[in-house]
C-alpha cells in the first residue's frame, strides 16, 4: 500500500507544485509532469504485484465524515484497472508535454496540470475505494476534473457544449449511483464494500440495484442510448485528455458495474441477457456511426462506444455463465470482457495519442484533409497501424485475444443451449469486427497512405521523442499481450475470483485449461510474425539482382490525376454506410450537376447522432413549451403572490381539518416502508 500511496503522493505533489505562480515554463513542465509520470510508474508496481498473486495491500483509517471510512484495498479487480490506469495516464502525461507546449503562448497550463493530477488520483481512488462515501467522492471528483480538462479550449462553442453535456450527464448518472449504493448499504447494513460482498440479502432488491447501476455506470461507460455526451466530449478535450478519457475514464463505468455485480452471490439469468442486449446495441451502432464520421477524434470516440459494447457483451456472457452455473462460459466471458477493457484502454489511448500527434502536426481533425502522412511521420504511422489492427481484433495483436475469449464464450453457450440470445454474440462480434476493419482501413488509408490532400498534410512532421516514446510503449504492450496471452491468463483468473458467485477452485481449473488454449493463440501470433518475416525475406531474395523501377500509379489511362481525386474517407465509406442509412439517416448537402457545362458541384454528408441531435431537441422543445406555461406563475404581480399564500393556507386547513391528509400521504408515498426481508 505504501508504494501506491507514494505514487499518489508524487502525483499530488506534481499537481500542487503546478499552482506555484511565476515558475519558468520549462521548469514547471519538467517538474510537474515528471513527478506525475514518476508517480504513475511507482503506482503501477503494487498493481502488478497483486495481479502476479502477491498479497492484497489495504488501508483502513477512520474518517470523520458521516458513514465515511478511509478504506482502500487493491484486490485483483482493482489491480487490473489500476494497471491500465497508470500505464495510460503516464503515457498521456508524457505525450502532453510537447502537445500542450504549443498552447503555452495563449493560455495558462496550470489548470491542466492541476486537474490532470486530480484526475489521476481520483481515478486511482475510485478503483481502490472500499467505502461508499469514498467511492462516490472519488467518482464525482473524477467527473469534475475531467470536465475541467474538457473545457480547456473553452472559447470554442463546440467545447462548451461538450463540457456542459458531459457535466450534466455525469452528474445525473452519479445521482443514480447514490441510490444504488444506498440500497446496497441498506440491505447490507453498512456502506462498506466488504460487508456488501457475498451478502445474500442483496438479492431482494437486486432488480432496482441492477437497473440503476446500468444507468449510473452506463452513462459514464457510454452505453447506447445514453452515450451521447461521449462523442462530443472526447473530441473536444485536448488529445492527451481524450486518451485518458477513452482509455480509463469510461472504464470506470465498467469497473463500477463489475464491482456492483460482484457483490451478488447469485445472479439472475436476465441480467446477463440484458447486458448482452446492451453490448449488442452499443457495439453495432457505435461502429456504424464511427464509419460515417470524418472527424478522426469523433470517429475514435464512437469506436469507444463500440468497444464498450464488446466489453459488456463479454461481461454479459460471463454473468450468464455464472447464473447458469457454467464455469467455462463464465470464465471465458468475464475474462474476455475484463481483458478487453485492458486491451481497449491500451490501443484506444494509443490511437488517440496518434491522432493527437497528427492534430499537433497539421492542426486539423478532418480525415479528408490528410493523406500521405506515412512518409512524413513513419513512427506515428506505425503506432497508429498497430492500434488499428489491434482495435479490429485481428491477430497477432491484443484485441484478438480478448475478442477470441468472448467469441468462445458465445460459442460454448451456443453448443449447449438453445436460446437465441446466447449465440447472438458470435455474428454480432463478427459484424462489429468487420465494420471496425472497414472503418480503420478507411482511417489509416486516408490519413497515412496515398498523396497528401492539403498543404498542412504536406508539411506535417513528427512531434518529437516525448510524443513517440509513449506511443511506442503502448504499441509494444499491444504486441506483448497479443504474442504472450498465456502469461496474462493467471492474472485474469485471479481477477475473476473477486466475484462473490465464483468458487475459486473450480475457476482456477477452468482457467488453467483455457491457458492451454490461449498459448495456442500466442503461438499463432508468433507464427504469423515469423511467416511474415520469412516471406519478406523470400520476396527480398527474389528481387535480388532484378530491376526495381519506379513509375506513377496506374491511373487506368488518365494522365493527370490530382490528390483530390483519391478516394476520401467519405467516399470510401459511402457504399457501406448506404446499407445502414435506415439507422444513420445521414444529412446530405449536394449540388447536383445538371447542365451540359456544369458549374462546380459539391457533396457533403453528416451523420448526426440519433439521440443527441434528433431525440433530445424534440424533447427539449416540448419541455420548453411546458415550462413557459409554468413560469407564468411568477408574473410579477404581488396580489397573485398573496393569493398563493391565501390558497395554500386554505388548502392546508382543509387538508388538516377535513381528512384529506390520508389520501395525500398515499399519493405521495410519504410513508416509511420497512426494510425488505430477505427471501
Amino acid at each position: 500500500m505504501s508504494l501506491f500511496l507514494l505514487g499518489l503522493g508524487l502525483i499530488a505533489l506534481g499537481g500542487i507544485l503546478s499552482l506555484i505562480p511565476r515558475v519558468p515554463r520549462v521548469l514547471a513542465s519538467a517538474v510537474c509532469n515528471g513527478l506525475m509520470i514518476l508517480g504513475c510508474a511507482v503506482g503501477v508496481v503494487p498493481a502488478i504485484q497483486v495481479l502476479a498473486g502477491g498479497p492484497l495491500p489495504s488501508l483502513n483509517m477512520p474518517w470523520s465524515v458521516p458513514a465515511g471510512q478511509i478504506e482502500l484495498l487493491i484486490d485483483p479487480l482493482s489491480a487490473l484497472f489500476l494497471l491500465l490506469h497508470f500505464i495510460v495516464c503516464g503515457s498521456a502525461v508524457m505525450f502532453g508535454i510537447p502537445y500542450f507546449s504549443s498552447y503555452e503562448k495563449t493560455q495558462s497550463l496550470k489548470p491542466v496540470r492541476f486537474f490532470t493530477s486530480i484526475l489521476i488520483i481520483s481515478i486511482a481512488l475510485t478503483f481502490t475505494a472500499q467505502n461508499t462515501i469514498l467511492f462516490l467522492g472519488a467518482w464525482e471528483l473524477m467527473a469534475l476534473s475531467t470536465f475541467f480538462l474538457v473545457i480547456f479550449e473553452d472559447r470554442q462553442e463546440r467545447v462548451r457544449k461538450a463540457g456542459f453535456l458531459y457535466l450534466i450527464m455525469s452528474h445525473t448518472g452519479t445521482l443514480c449511483l447514490f441510490v444504488v449504493f444506498l440500497l446496497l448499504g441498506r440491505q447490507a447494513g453498512s456502506l462498506g464494500f466488504s460487508q456488501m460482498a457475498h451478502n445474500k440479502d442483496l438479492l431482494a432488491v437486486g432488480t432496482p440495484i441492477f437497473l440503476l447501476a446500468l444507468v449510473g455506470f452506463g452513462v459514464k461507460a457510454g452505453f447506447m442510448p445514453i452515450h451521447f455526451w461521449l462523442q462530443e466530449a472526447h473530441p473536444a478535450a485536448p488529445t492527451p485528455v481524450s486518451a485518458i478519457m477513452s482509455g480509463v475514464v469510461i472504464k470506470c463505468g465498467i469497473y463500477g458495474l463489475v464491482r456492483v455485480i460482484s457483490f451478488f452471490p447469485t445472479l439472475p439469468a436476465w441480467w446477463g441477457i440484458v447486458l448482452i442486449m446492451i453490448g449488442t446495441t452499443s457495439g453495432i451502432l457505435g461502429v456504424v456511426w464511427a464509419l460515417a464520421q470524418h472527424d478522426f477524434k469523433r470517429l475514435l470516440a464512437y469506436h469507444s462506444i463500440e468497444n464498450i459494447g464488446i466489453i459488456v457483451l463479454g461481461l454479459g456472457f460471463g454473468c450468464l455463465g455464472l447464473s447458469l452455473n457454467n464455469p467455462v462460459v463464465a470464465m471465458l466471458g468475464l475474462a474476455g470482457g475484463l481483458w478487453h477493457t485492458l486491451n481497449h484502454g491500451l490501443f484506444k489511448s494509443l490511437l488517440f495519442l496518434g491522432a493527437g500527434s497528427i492534430y499537433h502536426a497539421t492542426g486539423s481533425r478532418e480525415i479528408d484533409q490528410m493523406g500521405g502522412l506515412w512518409k512524413k511521420m513513419p513512427w506515428t504511422g506505425f503506432c497508429f497501424l498497430v492500434g488499428s489492427v489491434a482495435i479490429c481484433g485481428i491477430p497477432p495483436l491484443n484485441g484478438f485475444v480478448s475478442e477470441w475469449l468472448i467469441y468462445n464464450a458465445s460459442f460454448v453457450l451456443g453448443i449447449h443451449n438453445s436460446n437465441f440470445c446466447f449465440v447472438l454474440g458470435v455474428p454480432v462480434l463478427a459484424l462489429i469486427g468487420v465494420l471496425a476493419a472497414a472503418c480503420f482501413t478507411k482511417v489509416f488509408g486516408v490519413l497515412f497512405l496515398g498523396n497528401a490532400r492539403t498543404e498542412a498534410a504536406v508539411e506535417a512532421q513528427e512531434g518529437g521523442a516525448l510524443m513517440l516514446i509513449p506511443m511506442l510503449f503502448l504499441a509494444s504492450l499491444c504486441f506483448a499481450i497479443g504474442l504472450f496471452p498465456g502469461v496474462f491468463l493467471p492474472a485474469m483468473s485471479r481477477v475473476i475470483t473477486v466475484f462473490s458467485s465464483v468458487e475459486a477452485g473450480e475457476f482456477h481449473q477452468v482457467a488453467m485449461n483455457q491457458a492451454g488454449m490461449l498459448a495456442w493463440i500466442g503461438w499463432l501470433s508468433v507464427g504469423i510474425l515469423a511467416v511474415i518475416g520469412v516471406l519478406a525475406l523470400v520476396r527480398r531474395l527474389f528481387l535480388v539482382g532484378k530491376p526495381v523501377s519506379a513509375s506513377a500509379t496506374w491511373g487506368c489511362g488518365y494522365a493527370l490525376p490530382s490528390p483530390r481525386m483519391q478516394y476520401t474517407a467519405s467516399s470510401y465509406a459511402q457504399f457501406s454506410t448506404l446499407m445502414f442509412r435506415a439507422v444513420l439517416r445521414p444529412l446530405v448537402h449536394m449540388k447536383r450537376i445538371t447542365s451540359l457545362f456544369p458549374a462546380a458541384g459539391s457533396f457533403e454528408s453528416h451523420s448526426p447522432d440519433a439521440v443527441l441531435d434528433r431525440f433530445i431537441p424534440r424533447l427539449a422543445a416540448i419541455l420548453r413549451r411546458v415550462l413557459y406555461r409554468v413560469r407564468d406563475f411568477q408574473h410579477g404581480r404581488v396580489q397573485f403572490y398573496l393569493a398563493y399564500v391565501l390558497l395554500f393556507l386554505i388548502l392546508l386547513l382543509v387538508w388538516e381539518f377535513h381528512g384529506v391528509s390520508l389520501l395525500w400521504k398515499k399519493i405521495f408515498l410519504l410513508d416509511a416502508v420497512t426494510k425488505v426481508p430477505p427471501p
Binding site: W520, S549, C556
Partner: protein
C-alpha cells in the same frame, strides 16, 4: 506428425490447380480449348523471375500487403483438414481461421489505398462492404456447425460425422453448403460477384485492388488468392460428405474427388451466370445470410 507436414505441403502445392480447373470448366462450357490446367504455375514462375515496378506514392505498406496476406493464408491452411486431420487443431481455432482471412483482407485493402489511385480505392471500398455481409454469414454457419459437431475446432466442425447418423440434419447441411458456397464465391471474387477475367476496372473488386502490383508481389497475390480459394473449397468439400478420414490414400482420394466437384461447380456457375450489377450483390449476400440464419434457427432447435 510427418504425415501432417506432407498433407499441408501437398495442399500448398495443389492450390494453384483450382483456378486452372475452373477455367478449364468454363472453356468446356464455352466450347473452347482454354488454357492448360497448370497455367497458374507457369504464371507464378514467370512473375517470380521478374523485377518489380513501384509507384513513388507507395510506401512500405504496399510492399507488405502481399506478404502479410500470403502469410495469413499459409497459417490459415494449418487449421484446415485436407486428406485427413488438419495440421493444427484446438478449441476455438475456427475464430483464428476467420480472423486470419481478416488480417489478409486488412492489408490487401491498405496496400490498395497506398497507391493513391481512385480506382483501387473504389475496389477497396467494395471489398470491405461485401465483407461486412459475408463475415457474419460465415460466423453464423460456424455456430450451426459447432452445434452439430459439438466442437469448436475447424477440422472437427467441417466433418460432423454425427450428421450421417441422423438423416434429419442432412437438409440442414445442404443449407449450410449452399450459403457457404455463395460466400465462397464472394470471398474469392468469382462470378456472379466479381469477374476475375474482365479488364474494366470499374466493375472489379479484388482485381482492381492489385492493379499496381507486379513481379514477385503479384506472384504472392495470385498464389495467395488460389490458396484462399483452395481453403474454402476444401471446407465445402468436407461438408459435402462429412466423414473424418485419417491421412490415408482413401482419404486423399475422396478429398480430391470432392474438391474437384466443388471446383467444377464453381466453373459451372461462372459459365451459367452473368456478373451481377454492383448494387445487386448485397442482395445476394443477404440472401446467403438469411439462409444461414434459417439454418441456425433449425440447428438451435
Amino acid at each position: 506428425m510427418l504425415m501432417r507436414f506432407v498433407s499441408v505441403a501437398v495442399a500448398l502445392l495443389a492450390a494453384p490447380l483450382l483456378p486452372g480447373l475452373i477455367n478449364k470448366t468454363k472453356s468446356a462450357f464455352a466450347g473452347r480449348k482454354g488454357p492448360p490446367v497448370l497455367q497458374l504455375y507457369f504464371d507464378l514462375a514467370k512473375l517470380l523471375k521478374k523485377g518489380a515496378v513501384y509507384s513513388p506514392v507507395t510506401t512500405w505498406i504496399f510492399r507488405a500487403g502481399p506478404v502479410v496476406s500470403l502469410a495469413s493464408y499459409l497459417i490459415a491452411s494449418l487449421f484446415v483438414p485436407f486428406g485427413g486431420d488438419s495440421f493444427l487443431s484446438f478449441s476455438g481455432d475456427v475464430i483464428a481461421f476467420a480472423y486470419l482471412l481478416g488480417l489478409a483482407r486488412f492489408f490487401t485493402v491498405l496496400a490498395a489505398l497506398d497507391t493513391g489511385s481512385s480506382f483501387e480505392g473504389m475496389g477497396a471500398s467494395r471489398e470491405v462492404t461485401f465483407s461486412i455481409l459475408a463475415e457474419p454469414t460465415i460466423f453464423i454457419l460456424f455456430i450451426v456447425l459447432a452445434r452439430i459437431s459439438g466442437s469448436l475446432s475447424l477440422s472437427h466442425m467441417v466433418t460432423p460425422e454425427q450428421v450421417l447418423m441422423n438423416p434429419s440434419t442432412v437438409g440442414l447441411l445442404l443449407l449450410i453448403v449452399f450459403s457457404l458456397f455463395v460466400v465462397c464465391l464472394a470471398e474469392n471474387s468469382r462470378i456472379p460477384v466479381d469477374d476475375p477475367a474482365t479488364h474494366l476496372e470499374l466493375t472489379m473488386i479484388h482485381e482492381v485492388m492489385v492493379l499496381d502490383h507486379s513481379g514477385p508481389d503479384l506472384a504472392f497475390i495470385l498464389y495467395g488468392a488460389s490458396l484462399k480459394l483452395f481453403l474454402m473449397v476444401s471446407l465445402l468439400a468436407h461438408l459435402l460428405f462429412p466423414i473424418r478420414a485419417a491421412n490415408s490414400a482413401q482419404g486423399w482420394l475422396l478429398f480430391g474427388i470432392l474438391v474437384a466437384i466443388v471446383t467444377i461447380s464453381i466453373g459451372i456457375v461462372e459459365s451459367a451466370m452473368a456478373r451481377l450489377r454492383m448494387v445487386r450483390i448485397p442482395r445476394l449476400l443477404i440472401a446467403a445470410c438469411m439462409i444461414a440464419i434459417f439454418a441456425m434457427i433449425i440447428g438451435l432447435r
